[in-house]
Amino acid sequence: MSATPSSPAATARAATAAAPRNVTRSARPTAWLGAVGVAAVVVLAFMPSLVSQADTSVLLNFFILLTMASMWNLLAGYAGMVSIGQQAFVGLGAYGVLVLADSGVNPVAAIPVAAVLCAALSVPISLLVFRLRGGYFAIATWVVADAASLVVSSIGSIGGGTGKPVPGMSSLSPKSFEEVTYWAALAVVVCAVGITYALLRSRLGLVLAAVRDNEVGARSAGVRVVTARRIVYLVAALGCGAAGALLAVSQLNVQPASVFNVQWSAEMIFVTMIGGIGTIEGPILGTVVFFLLQQNLAHDGAWYLIIFGALAVAIAIWAPRGLWGTATGKLRVQLFPVGFYVGRTRRRDRRTEAPPPTPASPAA
């Protein structure tokens, strides 16, 4: 291998510089989608005064699950880490709010603080669980969640095994309590989806795509794989912590058996798999399907989890791109374009274009 300046990569760069390819984020213009997104958030913000209290509460839980699912999707769909222990951060976020509220902090103001505390805790946890990979990583995160639950349950001052109500919200009228918790949840879910989108369009998104396509190749090209994974793990802890904090504020009560339940992981996993793992749109669609199913089967106890789990298994095997990926696969529709799309230059442009430069010969 001679180290001539005109390596294939350099040639490609030169060619790109001379005749710019039509590299965009999407096959179609997407500016209008941003406007639709902003409009959707504005409409959602007015929902508490438009729909009944029961529907507001459903929407609130929708936001909480969507936040969790987006975080799990970031972990597994983009960074390849299957965690079954995200309920650790859901629980710790909930208890963060409880402890802060007990010491006089406004519970709503405590939500971001609790989320940041979860993110901080995720760093030492990642040092342990990152020693295992694949399936063993999955169970190790589960062990950490179980251990966190047992530690929290053994502390009497925060309610021990039976839990404790969250103080500090009694001054609000029922209507304004409902609105405040709803808006907090809306803010969290917008942040969760927004941060995921921004992260994936940043350099980190490129790194994750490189690792997903060929980890060894990415590593040998100097990509810091572990650092990228750790950032994703931290963000997922932040998001799940915020979701747990929302649970504590909206239910006004924190029980270890409920907030540390592995069912949270089950729901976020199923939602992501059914909607479409590895797309930002997937968890949104999956959460919609989940709530439609749950609303129709709610009176049937465990049945919705049985049906939903079976559906997730079937989709994982026979339609691994999920509902969103399967439905939009050929159309190249993306609400959140995070990849790159290399389009052909249009015929009209090509005619006026300068002839492509001859590739520099290796001898030059």
């Binding site: 299957v82 694949g134 063993y136 062990v143 053994s154 997730a312 298994v313 095997i317 026979w318």
Partner: protein
């Protein structure tokens, strides 16, 4: 004296955990996958025994004679159908599929049998014990289970190293494409490995169902303890799994001696400590994968 008894009880508990763990370890070694429904299979075995005992008129203690073959066949069939289909995608899918099956199984059992605990009542057999002193009691049943665990691990070791099928399993574990090139049907070999794994975990489920209670929600705890035994002992080492199970059992019993609420937590802490200090486990040869 009560501390010595805690250690002895821990060693005896380790037999149960090793029995739970060897199937998990085998499947990972052969296919590189983790069956997250592993713990739930043990619970299902317990319920199958509950249902079959009145029908077969067998003494409860012999129920495994019927249940274990059923699970071996079931394991083979599940592997050749659903698990192989997911494995054909990638190990990532298998992980998600087994987790989905675990949640479905747990909730289906909840619907069918309620959340109440069940046990397999073998009458006075459970009560016999060897008492070298008043503070120390070695239950004959637990001793038998520890012996069964040793026999199962030993036979598995012999089976893998000495028999033709065992050689095929090792060949497929090393390189399934190469094994296929020389005429091995690796899917069939995977099925055999799954049959062994399901049989051993069914045996573990029945043994622990006779010794303590089980409920639809016991699956995850079984899985976590089996997994901790494997990692503490060292991934890829069958005898390490036995030692890992015993270490986990001792840690839990000593934790319980300090405060009954700390039993499970003490096991988790020892597991995390091993992960921090010696991630390849006590007897692990290679780096953990």
């Amino acid at each position: 004296m009560s501390w010595l008894n805690a250690v002895i009880q821990g060693v005896l508990t380790g037999g149960f955990y090793a029995l739970f763990a060897c199937g998990l370890s085998l499947l990972f070694g052969v296919m590189g996958i983790i069956n997250l429904a592993h713990g739930d299979i043990a619970v299902i075995a317990g319920y199958v025994a509950v249902l079959l005992i009145p029908a077969t008129h067998l003494p409860v203690v012999w129920s495994f004679v019927v249940v274990v073959p059923i699970f071996a066949i079931g394991g083979y069939i599940l592997q050749r159908t659903l698990l192989q289909a997911s494995l054909d995608r990638d190990p990532f899918t298998t992980l998600l599929v087994t987790f989905g099956l675990s949640v479905v199984a747990e909730n289906a059992l909840l619907e069918a049998f309620s959340s109440n605990g069940q046990s397999l009542n073998i009458g006075s057999l459970i009560a016999y014990s060897f008492n070298p002193s008043t503070a120390i009691s070695l239950s004959y049943f637990s001793l038998t289970v520890l012996g069964v665990a040793v026999v199962v691990l030993g036979s598995l070791q012999l089976f893998l190293s000495r028999t033709g099928t065992g050689r095929l399993i090792r060949a497929v574990a090393d390189d399934k494409e190469a094994a296929q090139l020389v005429g091995v049907n690796y899917r069939h070999i995977f099925g055999i490995a799954a049959a062994i794994a399901f049989a051993t975990v069914a045996l573990a489920g029945i043994a622990s169902g006779m010794y303590t209670e089980f409920a639809p929600t016991s699956g995850p705890a079984n899985l976590l303890f089996a997994f901790e035994s494997v990692v503490i002992g060292g991934i890829g080492s069958l005898w390490g799994t036995l030692v890992g199970g015993i270490v986990l059992g001792i840690a839990q019993q000593i934790g319980a001696q300090i405060n009954p609420a700390y039993q499970v937590l003490a096991g988790h802490i020892v597991f995390l400590a091993v992960l921090a200090v010696r991630p390849r486990g006590l007897f692990g040869m290679r780096t953990s994968q």
